[in-house]
């Protein structure tokens, strides 16, 4: 079962935010994210999921992989609230949260991301006092930047804001 994901319609200017620089192993993750799909790499032979992506399976050493779609539902594993000194574009948004979210399908698969009030809301748009380890969250997508720089990143919204 795949939960509905929400993608922001118009790109948000990157405004000096760092955009992901994918490597060969990570490129499929970002390509699927651009389509509003959250997928993780898994071994085609033994089925083990792995993150971050890498060329071969650390369990059975197979080089055959597939990208499994996941529900986008997860739980907050931990989080920080960042305060300056920061890069200028991030300092302008501080304090903002950064969370590690574990996926319900596989708690050992954890994604770093931001908890936001809406898919295209800025970093720091959720009151940090609302955050708890274990809080259920769901993935949304936001497209940042313009032209060739455009990239879609997953973000997270609290299931019970």
């Amino acid at each position: 079962m795949t939960a509905t994901v929400t993608a922001s319609v118009t790109p948000v200017p990157a405004d000096g935010m760092l955009l992901p620089v994918p490597d060969d192993d990570g490129a499929p993750f970002w390509a699927y994210a651009a389509k509003g799909e959250l997928r993780v790499q898994a071994c085609r032979d033994c089925g083990a999921r792995r993150f971050p992506p890498r060329p071969c399976c650390p369990r059975c050493r197979s080089f055959e992989d597939e990208w499994q779609r996941v529900s986008g539902r997860g739980r907050v594993w931990s989080y920080v609230v960042a305060h300056p000194p920061l890069l200028p574009s991030y300092a302008a948004l501080a304090p903002y949260d950064v969370a590690v979210v574990e996926l319900v399908e596989d708690p050992a698969i954890r994604l770093v991301g931001n908890l936001v009030a809406a898919p295209d809301a800025p970093l720091g748009s959720v009151d940090a006092a609302r955050l708890r380890i274990g809080a259920p969250v769901r993935a949304v997508f936001c497209t940042l930047g313009e032209g060739d720089e455009r990239v879609t990143v997953p973000r997270w919204m609290l299931e019970r804001p």
Binding site: V21, A82, H83, V98, R110
Partner: protein, 379 residues
């Protein structure tokens, strides 16, 4: 390699937010100071070891100090995780006859120079693509994430982290060379300090320092003829655990079981001593939370008990485990942990400014939460 080599010289520059000399000059001053301390001529140096992040390479150092023919040189990666490994590599080289006089050093202008995380263009594809876009920019953010999870799982509190900061600060207040020599810390100051990355505040973070340090190693046989009382390397180890990710160790089954556990297993396996025999410890403290994690990893307490271990003045002079007796990275100087090695040597010479009476064994550790290393020193 047990007790086969000894540290016979240590040297350092002043520590400050800003020093005028270049990193290369500071490196040379620290190295020449260590050789002078040992009573060994620079022309005898034939082994060199430092960090991959060290800007002054072996060629420059050897030329400047007037070293002879160098037959062993090595650099260790992973920032502060490599501190003890620089010495460990020289131990191996000297014990196997690849070198006879080894110098390890670190020179860094982190106080007046740039912050590494401030260079956005330098972000690496892996694993930065999974963290930087979300504003997880600095080491304090990456370790803050583990700190909150640790506090959640084991009931650690900010008071426990304060215990670490306070012990380091108290020892720095006894050490005229420490950047925080005349700057006492109170609980009130800690609890009202500005945040850097919640749950870590200003005083959970190490200093930003310009400075350099070095040490000289020779065989145990030769050490007996040197100027200073030898400090033997009883055991040395490196540790890169299965499925570990440096700094952002979020992607395995047990993220809070860090490289300290792997290095510790190797260290104690090759030692005649155990954690209970350690008189004084120099534990890498780029962040306060690394200390409870390391106390667990190196076996001073059980899993999840590192925070509670800090209670009741355990880390202070006269406590269960006097710690970072020159002030550590939190309050003496942050030079990627090399000042912990030199302070370990001073404790076993009996010359520390916060001397533990009759100390004969000292554990020195490198950075936890990155591929790491450790030394067990004895007199």
């Amino acid at each position: 390699m047990k007790d086969a080599t000894a540290i016979v010289g240590i040297g350092q520059t002043p520590f400050a937010k800003r020093l005028d000399e270049s990193e290369k000059s500071l490196a040379c001053r620290a190295i020449l100071g260590a050789l002078e301390d040992a009573g060994i001529a620079p022309s005898e140096v034939d082994g060199l070891a430092s960090y991959t992040m060290e800007e002054t390479d072996e060629v420059e150092v050897a030329k400047a100090i007037g070293a002879g023919d160098v037959t062993f040189f090595s650099q260790v990666g992973y920032g502060g995780g490599g501190s003890c490994a620089t010495v460990a590599h020289l131990v191996g080289a000297i014990a196997t006859g690849q070198a006879t006089v080894g110098v390890a050093w670190r020179s860094r202008k982190r106080g007046s120079g740039t912050r590494p995380w401030g260079n956005a263009a330098a972000q690496l594809p892996t694993p930065a693509q999974w963290t930087r876009p979300f504003g997880l920019l600095r080491p304090a953010d990456e370790i803050g994430m583990l700190a909150r999870r640790y506090m959640h799982e084991y009931g650690a509190t900010r008071d426990h982290l304060f215990n670490v900061a306070l012990a380091c600060r108290n020892r720095a207040n006894q050490n005229p060379a420490a950047m925080m020599y005349e700057r006492p810390l109170t609980r009130e100051m800690y609890m009202t300090a500005r945040w850097i990355s919640e749950p870590l505040c200003l005083f959970d973070n190490c200093l930003e320092t310009d400075g350099a340090l070095a040490c000289v190693l020779v065989s145990a046989d030769r050490a007996r003829d040197c100027r200073r009382r030898p400090v033997y390397v009883h055991a040395a180890a490196q540790g890169l655990p299965a499925q570990h990710h440096g700094m952002v160790n979020y992607w395995n089954d047990d993220p809070l079981r860090g490289p300290a556990w792997t290095a510790a297993q190797q260290l104690w396996k090759h030692a005649d001593l155990g954690p209970a025999d350690v008189d004084v410890a120099q534990i890498y403290d780029a962040f306060t939370v690394l200390v409870p994690l390391s106390l667990e990893g190196y076996g001073f307490c059980g899993r999840g008990e590192g925070a509670a271990f800090t209670e009741g003045g355990a880390l202070e002079s006269g406590g269960r485990l006097p710690l970072n007796t020159a002030g550590g990275g939190l309050s003496e100087a942050y030079v990627h942990g090399f000042n912990l090695i030199t302070e370990g040597v001073r404790q076993l010479r009996g010359t520390s400014t916060a001397q533990v009476p009759d100390a004969s064994t000292c554990l020195v550790t490198a950075g936890e939460c990155v591929p790491t290393s450790a030394l067990l020193l004895r007199s």
